[in-house]
């Protein structure tokens, strides 16, 4: 009967007072029983027999209560509730299996949700509070002069200004940089993520300041803007206790005092969620600090910026691209005219285009290594999910087999098939939901691990606090819960009660066994494919670590200087000397020297002329470092022949140079380079080569031969660059003490930053490092899951054939033979899976290859090792069931009859 509204309300009231109603019914029945008892006493029953008879007449009180209560429950709901209760009871009866299934779910869901959360943030989720994200684009600029193909190019501020003033299809345009910057002064100085933006930037967001205001156009004017700063909410909270008194205070940013004028709202990260800015300053203030005047006048030597646009509602992306490209070309022509006016030449045949690309960098055409790894992680996590699903299906099948008699009895008792199916489904969903909940916790852990290795700069994120991730995890949970639950369902539909009730034995196990074997092979296949990936990445990582760099970065710290107020050259030169001297007095420092550029941190190149060679450029790329005495000892580069730069190579002494071994061979083949002459840049006169140093890598770990030369810092741009410090051992440990000591030498409004030299190299190795970690961890996980699956399959098999095995052994079969046959079955299944897995790995070599480092994706050693490991694991998983088979006792088996 359908509920009328009044009826429904009564039902609702009943449920709201559920426990009270329960008591009502119980008390009522108790009263009734007591009355019956009294009636019987009156009729002459003895007290004892009266009580007994009363209870007998009342029948099953529980059932009566249930029936009475059932009136209030709609039938369907009742059935489901019963199923849930039954499921929980059934699951508690087999705690080990239940735990195994839940853990499998938890691992699958955990890894998947962590991967999703990561990929979501990198590629799908627009930054918080961005208005209409689909109309916002990051503009990318490309140039193509046919020589090196199309390349993305950087944009100086002047180009942005010219383009911004000539486009009409956009409702908002902004420029921004996201360069870390130092804040504070003296020894308390530290680097934070920052956003250097035009005021229009804030117009892209619906983000009212939490306090104060954002800066305005009048504060972002050439030449130097106004020194004002907007704090992030996090910074405001941690440093100023979220107090409004922060407004109006001064904060030293990049050595210049800035006035705090506002606070961004909570969670506001601009457009760089992977590097949440701590402060926002006007682009003009930043430009003036970084490259005074040049920042807005120079096409070639200013500051690099990014451009953000919002399309007007009726403008298509194609139309947007067209207008941006047109504006870019016009700006380029202006630059070329200016260059020709100054007597320069313009590169011919330059083709330029600009496109409105997706906002999130990792969705754009140039994905970062992190983005690529995140994609891989999410792919791998899907595989893990499939394996988990197969494993659960396998375990559920095992469980269904264990309960075949129970099922048969229920069918015999008239439980409908539909009801049986809903029962099983509820069970598998209960497992999935339990596992999924634990999975979110696992996800949180995985997330933390993955982020620390892949995205060390990003603020940590929470999985548990994120509705999107939880929703996806829930969807995945239900999906695999249903899919995994389906396998035993197919079985349950076919239960023949007579089969069990007749003999207590199932003869029809083979069909199920095929299903389970297939599931197991699937698991092994995918695990092997993942483990091969793991092996390849581990090898790549080893190769990357093993690359001879030609210097020893682990003990070296790189010190850079920043000046809030520019210093004259002479002061900088003496300051650098002072820093070197101060560093050398520290007990933890063994050597210190001047340096101009930093390997893996961007090298310098200057025009080079050598007698007898028309164009040195045609021979290759020659990079330079201007260094102080002791440089080679400090960084650990060997001098092959001759001498290094030493204390005598000062301004006014004979100009000298040291060249790398490869450069000596390239420029003066067959001759002795020492004593040869080279002319660098505008400095006139011959510079004599006095030494040959070993080759170093400064651009990439792989790639072509690099040519390198060194000049004495004091003879070439002595005011440029910072210093290198060699510590006793592990450089990062001493970074802070070195920074403090050197900061003491710095004039007001200026500061040093100290970073391990190995940072730049670690960034290059990160993708292999992370790949090795992700694949190894997940591959091992899958192997373990497969081992559990194999174990359960064999154990189940042995249990089912216990009688047969017992009889065989009783008839004199060799126990060892019986055991080895069980183990053989495990090995055969595993081998089939391993072969398929290797086939998949070979087939996908084409896509994996480019991600590896000096490693063939078809390396037989890796494949062999993986197969060996998997077989050993399979053998271990088969061990216990095999032993059990060998010790099958015919008496026990036959007693079952």
């Amino acid at each position: 009967m359908m509920d009328t509204p009044a009826r429904f309300l009564r039902r609702l009231r009943h449920w709201l007072r559920f426990s009270a109603r329960q008591d009502d019914i119980r008390d009522e029945i108790e009263f009734h029983t007591a009355m019956v008892e009294r009636e019987l006493l009156d009729r002459g029953y003895s007290p004892n027999s009266a009580r007994y008879e009363a209870r007998r007449r009342m029948g099953n009180a529980t059932m009566m209560r249930e029936d009475a209560r059932a009136v209030w429950i709609t039938t369907k709901l009742e059935a489901v509730m019963q199923d849930v209760k039954y499921a929980v009871r059934a699951l508690r009866r087999t705690p080990a299996l239940t735990a195994g299934i839940m853990i499998t779910f938890a691992l699958g869901i955990g890894v998947y949700s962590a991967a999703f959360s990561m990929i979501d943030r990198l590629m799908f989720r627009p930054p918080p509070s961005l208005i209409d994200p689909s109309s916002v684009h990051r503009v990318r600029f490309y140039r193509n002069n046919n020589e090196r193909g199309e390349q993305e190019t950087w944009v100086p501020h002047i180009r942005y200004a010219e383009i911004a003033s000539s486009i009409a299809r956009f409702s908002n345009v902004a420029a921004f940089a996201s360069q870390p910057i130092a804040i504070g002064k003296g020894v308390a100085i530290r680097r934070v993520n920052a956003a250097e933006v035009t005021p229009s930037f804030f117009g892209f967001f619906d983000a009212t300041p939490a306090a104060g205001r954002y800066f305005i156009d009048g504060e972002n004017l050439t030449p130097a803007g106004t020194p004002v700063v907007v704090l992030s909410h996090a910074m405001w909270t941690s440093e100023y206790g979220a107090s409004r008194t922060a407004l109006g205070q001064q904060l030293t940013v990049g050595g210049v005092d800035h006035t705090i004028i506002g606070v961004a709202p909570k969670h506001f990260v601009g457009v760089t969620p992977d590097q949440p800015p701590a402060i926002f300053i006007p682009l003009a203030s930043y430009g003036a600090m970084r490259a005074p005047v040049r920042w807005y006048t120079s096409y070639g030597n200013g500051i690099g910026i990014q451009v953000l646009v919002r399309r007007k509602p009726d403008v298509s992306i194609d139309a947007a691209d067209a207008e941006l490209s047109f504006a870019f070309n016009r700006s380029w022509r202006t630059e070329m005219e200016q260059r020709r006016g100054a007597g320069g030449t313009a590169p011919p045949n330059m083709k330029l285009r600009a496109i409105a690309s997706p906002l999130l960098a990792d969705r754009g055409p140039r994905r970062s290594a992190t983005g690529t790894m995140a994609l891989w992680l999410s792919g791998v996590s899907l595989i893990v999910l499939v394996i988990a699903c197969a494993n659960v299906a396998n375990l559920l099948l095992a469980r269904a087999w264990d309960r075949r008699r129970e099922m048969a009895v229920r069918v015999a008792l008239g439980v409908g098939r539909a009801r049986l199916i809903s029962q099983l489904l509820v069970e598998s969903l209960a497992l999935a939901i339990g596992g999924g909940a634990v999975g979110l916790l696992v996800g949180q852990v995985v997330n933390t691990l993955v982020r620390s290795s892949l995205l060390p700069d990003a603020a940590s994120t929470s999985i548990l606090g994120d509705a999107r991730t939880i929703l996806i995890a829930a969807a995945a949970t239900l999906t695999i819960g249903l899919i995994a639950g389906l396998a035993p369902l197919l079985q349950a539909g076919r239960v023949d009660p007579m089969e069990f009730l007749r003999s207590g034995r199932s003869q029809a196990g083979s069909a199920r066994s095929v299903v389970r074997s297939t599931l197991l092979i699937t698991q092994v296949t995918l695990s092997v494919a993942l483990l091969v990936g793991a092996g390849l990445f581990v090898r790549s990582w080893q190769h990357a670590r093993g690359v001879r760099l030609g210097f020893e970065p682990d003990a070296v710290l790189s010190v850079s200087m920043s000046f809030g107020v520019p210093l004259d050259s002479a002061s900088v030169v003496s300051l650098r000397e002072r820093l070197v001297a101060t560093a050398k007095t520290m007990p933890e420092v063994t050597h210190a020297t001047l340096r101009e550029s930093i390997p893996f941190g961007g090298m310098s190149g200057y025009p080079l002329r050598i007698a007898g060679i028309d164009s040195v450029d045609a021979l290759g790329r020659f990079d330079m470092n201007a260094v102080g005495a002791d440089y080679f000892t400090t960084v650990g580069t060997r001098i092959v022949r001759g001498r290094g730069i030493d204390a005598g190579d000062v301004n006014g002494a004979a100009p000298v140079a040291v060249v790398s071994a490869a450069m000596a061979e390239r420029v003066w083949p067959g001759k002795d380079a020492i004593g040869q002459c080279m002319v660098v840049d505008e400095t006139p006169g011959c510079r004599q080569v006095v030494g040959i140093a070993e080759d170093i890598k400064t651009l990439g770990l792989a790639g072509e031969q690099e040519y390198y030369y060194y000049l004495p810092s004091l003879q070439f741009r002595p005011q440029e660059g910072g210093i290198f410090v060699r510590t006793r051992g592990d450089a990062p440990r001493y970074a802070e003490s070195v920074r403090r000591a050197l900061q003491g030498e710095m004039p007001a409004n200026s500061y040093v930053t100290v970073a391990p030299l190995s940072d730049g190299i670690a960034r290059r190795r990160r993708s292999w490092d992370a790949g090795a970690k992700i694949f190894t961890a997940l591959g091992a996980l899958c192997a373990i899951l497969s081992a559990v699956g194999l174990y359960s399959l064999l154990a189940n098999d042995v249990a089912r054939r216990r009688r047969e095995l017992g009889v065989r052994i009783a008839l004199g079969a060799n126990a060892g033979r019986v055991a080895s046959r069980v183990a053989m079955r495990g090995l055969v299944l595993t081998s089939v899976g391993a072969a398929l897995g290797c086939a998949i790995a070979v087939a996908s070599a084409r896509w994996v290859g480019p991600l590896l480092f000096q490693q063939s994706p078809r390396d037989p050693i890796v494949y062999g090792a993986v197969v060996a490991v998997v077989l050993v694991v399979a053998l271990a998983a088969s061990f216990v069931p095999a032993l059990r088979a060998a010790s099958a006792d015919p008496r026990v088996a036959l007693q079952d009859e």
Partner: protein, 109 residues
């Protein structure tokens, strides 16, 4: 033991409602009254009485209140509501119709 007649399907609610016409009663009282009035022919089983009462509660035909029984015990008394009276009337008419029909068949078949 006396031979009890099974109730015609659907008549339990009718009997319960009719019993409550005179005064509020508890479950045991209802069962006793039906037994007495039918001279032990009709027995209301406890296992169907209480679900029936719950059903009538749900339909709003009766109200239940805790009170004190004749022998000073706590008992739950059921009272007929206006909706219950209407239901009783309808059920009585329906019962008469069925009984008349059955008699007609018995007489003329």
């Amino acid at each position: 033991m006396t031979q009890n007649s099974e109730l015609l399907p659907g008549t339990l609610d009718l009997l319960v409602l009719r019993t409550l016409m005179r005064e509020p009663m508890h479950g045991y009282g209802i069962a006793q009254r039906v037994k007495e009035l039918s001279k032990d022919v009709l027995q209301v089983g406890e296992s169907s009485l209480y679900p029936s009462l719950q059903r009538l509660l749900l339909d709003g035909c009766v109200k239940a209140e805790w009170g004190v029984s004749d022998n000073n015990r706590r008992a739950r008394y059921y009272t007929l509501t206006a909706a219950g009276r209407r239901r009783l009337e309808a059920e009585e008419q329906e019962f008469e119709r069925v009984v008349t029909a059955i008699r007609a068949v018995l007489r003329y078949a």
